[in-house]
Symmetry: C2
DNA sequence: TTACTTTTTTACCATAGGTTAAATTTTTCC
DNA sequence: GGAAAAATTTAACCTATGGTAAAAAAGTAA
């Protein structure tokens, strides 16, 4: 759903890791693993080398609400926790076997000190992320659930092979029954 | 709705403007003025020294949909245009007499070269903005319109003195008639 | 295959919010 | 103040989506 490639080249990152002795760590997670849970502080950015991750949270009744789907080259974190130190409410679930590179805040700062233009890149990345979120709010305010579903199908067809319809439904902001009804009516 | 104060101190900005000869410009707009329109490229960040601004866009039927309300010390821009150079779709309307400081991308870059920690600040500001947008999507997905209205009343009571109910309704994602009905049922 | 579990669909009714139109209240301006 | 315009409320009706429950389909494992 979002690629960080224009802002952070993973090959360069690997090179810088050696050059500046950053000590970045890797993490492999199996399909189905929930590698970040509500209440666990999120101390890293996660660069998804390869795989597919669903970010969700729980509503008051305990239902999982999908907040985001993330594929190769996405950089994800729980901003509430990572940036502001607030209690983390997000779950990160690997929807398939996934390879991650973990980047702590201090490692990122060190890296940016050595490569100042990366600071600009990260700033732009955050700005683009805010834009994507703005667009999503706009689509909620101007489109029907059916239109949002058709857009998603068109823009991310692979998503429907990797995620359950119930997970996609909550991402679209509707129940799985409503999504099923929308699909029936084509 | 959002203050940039933790990330950019306006007094320092004024000082830096002189110190580094940035050439920042000011702009005064009268109540009711629409100082950015759809199709006009947005070349600046706007620092709101004093005033109140509504950001809106038009849906397919031409209805104004309020995207954001912004008060003193907010930094606003049309990210689609400012960051990505895409066609601007946002309108910026002064809801009361408003004093702005304009910051171009090149001025910002110059400033960050002189004050590197400001780059980090801007990055965090963008991250916080993404968080606020995430929270808004979450509230749409987990709360009723009535709950969102009550939250808004509680968190931004002054907003209801400055904005029309129809403008607040579209911000909440409902029609003005629905908002009226919600208010009647207390 | 069969049995079992999970996911998806279907159906029925309930409800929040949309649509249209008109009435009412508030604001603006002469 | 009073007329006109704008904003807000009210009402009747309509529609999309939610809630519940059950059936059907798909996936999994022995």
């Amino acid at each position: 759903m979002f690629s960080s490639k224009p802002y952070l080249d993973i090959n360069k990152l690997v090179k810088w890791n050696l050059e500046f002795d950053l000590g970045l760590t890797n993490k492999s997670v199996k399909k189905g693993d929930v590698f970040l849970k509500e209440g666990q502080p999120c101390k890293h950015l996660y660069y998804i080398l390869k795989g597919f991750v669903r970010i969700y949270y729980l509503d008051l009744e305990g239902n999982q609400i999908t907040h985001w789907f993330c594929a190769d080259d996405a950089i994800i974190t729980s901003p509430f926790s990572y940036v502001k130190g607030e209690r983390n409410i997000l779950y990160f679930e690997a929807m398939e076997d996934t390879e991650l590179v973990l980047i702590s805040a201090s490692q990122l700062n060190t890296l940016i000190q050595h490569v100042p233009e990366l600071g600009e890149g990260m700033r732009q990345m955050n700005a683009e992320f805010a834009m994507i979120l703005s667009r999503r709010i706009m689509s909620i305010h101007t489109q029907t659930a059916e239109e949002r579903y058709l857009n998603l199908m068109e823009q991310h067809p692979l998503l429907f092979q990797k995620a359950k319809l119930s997970q996609i439904a909550s991402f679209l902001g509707i129940t799985q029954q409503s999504l099923s009804r929308i699909r029936k009516n084509l």
